[in-house]
Symmetry: D2
Subunit: 498 residues, 4 copies
Amino acid sequence: MSVLVSNFINGEIVESSSQRNADLFNPANGELRGQVQLSSAEEALAAVEVAKKAQVDWQATPPLQRARVMFRFKALLEDNADELATLISTEHGKVHSDALGELTRGLEVVEFACGIPHLLKGEHSLNVGREIDSYSMMQPVGVCVGITPFNFPVMVPLWMIPVSLACGNSFILKPSEKDPSASLMLAKLLKEAGLPDGVFNVVQGDKEVVDALLEAPDVAAVSFVGSTPIAEAIYSKGSANGKRVQALGGAKNHLVVMPDADLEGATNAIMGAAYGAAGERCMAISVAVAVGDEAADKLVAALKEKVQALRVGPGLGVSPENEMGPLVSEPHMNKVREYIQTGVDQGATLVVDGRDIDTGAPGYFVGGTLFDNVTADMTIYNEEIFGPVLSVVRAKDYQHALELINEHEFGNGTAIFTRDGDTARDFAEKVEIGMVGVNVPIPVPMAFHSFGGWKRSIFGPLNVHGNDGVRFYTRMKTVTARWPKGQRESEFVMPTMK
Amino acid sequence: MSVLVSNFINGEIVESSSQRNADLFNPANGELRGQVQLSSAEEALAAVEVAKKAQVDWQATPPLQRARVMFRFKALLEDNADELATLISTEHGKVHSDALGELTRGLEVVEFACGIPHLLKGEHSLNVGREIDSYSMMQPVGVCVGITPFNFPVMVPLWMIPVSLACGNSFILKPSEKDPSASLMLAKLLKEAGLPDGVFNVVQGDKEVVDALLEAPDVAAVSFVGSTPIAEAIYSKGSANGKRVQALGGAKNHLVVMPDADLEGATNAIMGAAYGAAGERCMAISVAVAVGDEAADKLVAALKEKVQALRVGPGLGVSPENEMGPLVSEPHMNKVREYIQTGVDQGATLVVDGRDIDTGAPGYFVGGTLFDNVTADMTIYNEEIFGPVLSVVRAKDYQHALELINEHEFGNGTAIFTRDGDTARDFAEKVEIGMVGVNVPIPVPMAFHSFGGWKRSIFGPLNVHGNDGVRFYTRMKTVTARWPKGQRESEFVMPTMK
Amino acid sequence: MSVLVSNFINGEIVESSSQRNADLFNPANGELRGQVQLSSAEEALAAVEVAKKAQVDWQATPPLQRARVMFRFKALLEDNADELATLISTEHGKVHSDALGELTRGLEVVEFACGIPHLLKGEHSLNVGREIDSYSMMQPVGVCVGITPFNFPVMVPLWMIPVSLACGNSFILKPSEKDPSASLMLAKLLKEAGLPDGVFNVVQGDKEVVDALLEAPDVAAVSFVGSTPIAEAIYSKGSANGKRVQALGGAKNHLVVMPDADLEGATNAIMGAAYGAAGERCMAISVAVAVGDEAADKLVAALKEKVQALRVGPGLGVSPENEMGPLVSEPHMNKVREYIQTGVDQGATLVVDGRDIDTGAPGYFVGGTLFDNVTADMTIYNEEIFGPVLSVVRAKDYQHALELINEHEFGNGTAIFTRDGDTARDFAEKVEIGMVGVNVPIPVPMAFHSFGGWKRSIFGPLNVHGNDGVRFYTRMKTVTARWPKGQRESEFVMPTMK
Amino acid sequence: MSVLVSNFINGEIVESSSQRNADLFNPANGELRGQVQLSSAEEALAAVEVAKKAQVDWQATPPLQRARVMFRFKALLEDNADELATLISTEHGKVHSDALGELTRGLEVVEFACGIPHLLKGEHSLNVGREIDSYSMMQPVGVCVGITPFNFPVMVPLWMIPVSLACGNSFILKPSEKDPSASLMLAKLLKEAGLPDGVFNVVQGDKEVVDALLEAPDVAAVSFVGSTPIAEAIYSKGSANGKRVQALGGAKNHLVVMPDADLEGATNAIMGAAYGAAGERCMAISVAVAVGDEAADKLVAALKEKVQALRVGPGLGVSPENEMGPLVSEPHMNKVREYIQTGVDQGATLVVDGRDIDTGAPGYFVGGTLFDNVTADMTIYNEEIFGPVLSVVRAKDYQHALELINEHEFGNGTAIFTRDGDTARDFAEKVEIGMVGVNVPIPVPMAFHSFGGWKRSIFGPLNVHGNDGVRFYTRMKTVTARWPKGQRESEFVMPTMK
């Protein structure tokens, strides 16, 4: 049975009248699952119009009431967790427990947004001058747009949607065309939670829709997560059109293993961080920096054994569950394979070659791949592979490791494994990276903190969710007030004279 | 069928071994409903011991997990709202819709407490000196006690419990012995929400229990709401025993009607604020200050008509619902009647006499009572009656009205009705009252703000719920850290020498 | 004696090797005062290099020490206030008291920045998971650039400089080429206050310098204040180059006079707000919206008398001081005159014609000009004139007045004059403007709040100074930390075995 | 020349009419320096009256203006630092550099208070219900009292005064009668800074004055620093009189030396922390807990050498400066000597005996004293000696060290010296102490954080300075506002009908 993934406009599933579709595959078996419609620019603009109208009443709804929609949405996400996770696995390929984990991290942002009455408070100053007061109101910006990537079809939209909606905005989601089905389920659950029609809308599509949304005068804010070139283009174009934009791009996250690290802990941490979700995470560890050859030798040996033992296969329907599923698409699988060959060609030591894998399943699988002796001039070091390929770089000392990271183009996440307080503190202060783990391999900030990298991993001053998210989705209005005297006395006298 | 209201200790209903009981009545019909056990000091101390032990693990539970107990508790309160409201009405007497309203205000504090991961954040300063950092942790205080009044058997406990628990404390509730049944239902729902046994406990009792809790060395914090003499005694005794205490006392809330006020709006507002819950609210309006005789004449005329038309009777089981139920007990009814007589004796004009009422029901009813020409030297002006008795005071001008309020012993709530921005602003700045309404008769702060009066309506610097509540239920710990150098270099070299 | 205004690089006045200059005039008498050098792109890039190097040590200087530079800077600004104000008046033309007022508003931002140790605090969460902590550090972004307009040669730079520097950034100021001298005095005083060389630099110039700074990879943040077309271009170009940008543009600030307003107060307020600094303020009132013809008639009559009585002339050296000085330049004077003619041509009623003025001085004077019956289709209504020209628009009712404002392209400031709390509150909530005055004609937020408009008056999500300013000039880094166990026990045992 | 230290009331030095005096000595030479007057209860109450009157205008002065008094006060403290430090040394005995250090820490609170316009902001919520807003104002409490100890005659008063005054309160200081002169210099400088007369007052005295202030109805808040028994009594009595009180008491601060610590760093840190100011600091380290005998042996050996080499003598007029001065008084010197004897009697190992010292000066000197093998049952372990006596306790492991600290009555400060991140983190989380140092021996929080211990080292929920200080010195007022409709339309029509 073939699926056709359409739009969600004004509270209803609406089929696009565009004649363009994209195929949807199940990456675990390569089967064609159906199509997603690629909407037209006109349809995108119509969605903006709907969102603009619906936003007026939604803004006037007190934050306390808006929060209660979020409370219900949270409960519905929990009730439907299994179904939603299955949908994620089916289209993205990640294993079921990982899909549930993705959902949980998204859910936490919904929980955060439940606190919006507190989070939206402005500041009140009595007597900025004698009998003059000043106070600020944080009001919604209007219509917001989220353009989200294939690798977290639920979590990344939920970084944006709950905060934006709770602030009183309406929202248009343009999901990835590779795994769009979850977007409609989110829409359905939001409606069920009591969100008024038109406040949340989904427009399926590709560049045509994106461009239309970036040009639409009534779109006030755009949040994007994806690759750096696209992030940069979206930031540039959205900004040129006068919008506020936060655009999150690529990553090449290094994990430094110091000689004093708990090596077993570090190895286990790297395994999950490098190969979980087949490396298709913007916070995946793709470079392990071993400080000193002794640490490197031990680390590579320990990793080799574990990588070879990875259970790779379909993410659904097997027991025990696999540890790693397929890549998202055949072209992406081929691209990852090419990166591996480039690594070999440029002289890196291929310790485990994931191209050899035979899972018995016909999907887009690449096995866990491990390179040693990777250097800073290699392609596999400089580019984001977004696959289960880990490069071990050997640093001669701590300072060398730090410089490697600071000189890399990207600045999303990093981690250091050490027992030494001084090393960890120095690293945390000096590393030019937005999210830093100390003995934590994937230091994704909690929902009540904010997600965001440095350097070319982010464009725009405000991070996602947490207080920054609230600031991004609101406009500040500052009122200064004083009052003419006279009524206090005169009003009393006047009425008796009438 | 007679009820016996017992304790809730360590996750279970536990009968007190004390032989002392107090009778429980249904105030709408005067029938004996059963008994509440009056526990012994030893039982109170045993509860402290249980709470102390349970707190250790609860503190170690991450705030995110503690918040999820609150999320479930909220859902359970909603699911059981009708039952809980019925329990309130049965023992307190207030009408059903009012009981539901009480529950909603309490529920909002639970919603606020769901945001505890954000609310508990400490401050982090990088480089207070070179390579020296400083940060604060807000940790729970330990065992907290709540001593709560009869007039809001659910709302007032919920001002305290969710914030205290979410902060990582354990809690012992000592409810009013007049309407204690709701406390056990709260306990049951908290357990059902996943709160570990022993973290929340209820000890029924009277002064013996209160004294034991105030003396118990392991009780760290005491929150009290009740009358001013008791509040003062509890603050004094608790403080003398080294505890942090917030003790909220009595009120005599004035509502000022300016000549330019929307008279109809003001009249309707006063009706609800003065007679709702039979005036048994610490935020009830018991004094209307009319500025100028013209305003006063009109106001009294408008009020008289409405007071005479009040539907007074049982709070449950009638349709249409009554607007006002009985007083909580026979002694209290008699006391309110005596106050009315004192008003007459001291020369106030009794416009409507609620003592005449015949509701057809045998309960503790006093009808809506309205006095005119009340002056600042009268007993009914100076004391908190806690009944459906409204005093109209005639002020010669705005300044007079303001002075009346500022000179009164109490400082809980007040309101002004005016259209004039200057009058409202001047009043808000200068009135010596903690909670101020501008055209809002009962300005109870929302859960994400804080509840608290001034003057002899509160003892202790911190208000209830909101940020102040979080501060009250936490201890600040400030860490200053730097690290000795040496490992970053030496550790690398050392291992190779081993 | 002719002045030559050069650059300030690395702690010293440095002459530009560029051969390009721009003339500097004294607008009060039209005399050529000297030249300002127009630096080359290479010189701008060299300044970036200097700033980049100096920033490293400055960032490592604890915030407490950075604050102390601001404390001294404040004292020096106060000590040199008269000299600085004279410099402003000489090149800009505004009267001395107004120049002192400008300085005071700038000084207040320095005072705000003295609190940077408190303002820079990150958030600290204990136990985001069991034994896992998370905390944020707000670190400087690096090299910041300020591009500032002629109308506030001291205040606008001081909106940016103190906050940026206190956050640990270095700063490059590109002042207006019309009144650049004050920038060098700020530089000198900062140095005297103890700011290390290279942390603050001034590059004089025009578009060549601006473009170079917008393209320089090492510039991290750009703050701009000026006209909307330039603001938009700078936001677009800076954003395309990956920088964070806040760009503040033009304004057309409406002041609504309600029929119940204190007319005398409103008239006086409008006089200062419309004609102060000859209207060359982005927060000047250029449109008075009178609600109802009766209010309009009275307002125009009252204004006419006062406008005709305005003392216009040189800003320095006369007693009593003039109320209004010249425009900044001859071309700008001519442009304002043309706007007046356009107003006449398009049918507005010219009540007072400032073109007739004869101040006896040869400077660039236009007298106070008043139009009545201006409508929304006229050029003088739609464009920012930046001169002493006030348009009175007659609105048929409050709703009409509100719509006029909301439909205007700009959204900087606005004000309403009324006594009615409801009107003021409705206006404050619904007007689509960033800074709102209630009976305050120029509602510039205090330094500890933030300055910023809405719509096409600002580009970028963060306002200037206040908490937003701190956020703009910092990058968030979020650390998640846990530690491997084992040392607590083993370390104790190990040493004794050595 | 003999001094007579009097009161400072309403802007002037006022001699007490009380006939009671206390002698003032120079502890470095034992000479009688003069007298301090011991005021009467009536004089204390008169000061309250003065402070109450002056507070009214001071509260009405905008925070921005109040801050500017603090800015000037800071400059004056810097200008007079040497004189003030000399005064401290003369009466207290501490060496000059230490007195300057004390002043700096006090000055930092003045710097913090300069940010009061930002710190005083309340919260503003738009639409808590439809068209209902709520906001909070943080208003001063009224008359505040500070009762301060001899050991920091400038710093501890400055913990309180700047924050209290900046919040809009008036303040009465009751300094220690051992070193009261600095209080008058603070008063003089505050006046010079522009503080209006009567807002700050000093009343010299003893228990009579303290009791009068604790009973005065117009005193709203009391801050105390001193010994635990007095702190407890003041908290109890002040609370019983309805005041808010923060009372800070004694300490017994442990410093844990882990086997992996930087021993040299730890030893140097302990020397300063144990013997600086002759141990008369509430944050002095009086117990060093060495974990493991090997660490203990090394530590004691290293300390012994350094303690024997301590330069002890007068704090003024010698070069090179001494490292440690005399104790504050002869009785205190004798008490410290008795403690040393008790230590010997109870079986502790006296490694260095400070009683033997001969400084050549006739003052109240006790040399640096070092005990080893101190155990938890000894008097010198359990009581606060407040002298240069360091006890080394040998713990068998980390857990033992932690338990020692947690079981001690006091909870002011503590420190751990280790390189291990896990040990430090575990200690910081679990130690029951308010201020924790990680490789920092005296972890006094910065002015923008808050000072306060746990357990019997503090009474009251709010710490001193930082945000807590602002909260302590303010009362929250929460306004809820809505407005009657009608004027927006009718006002427009009405005037034309007149």
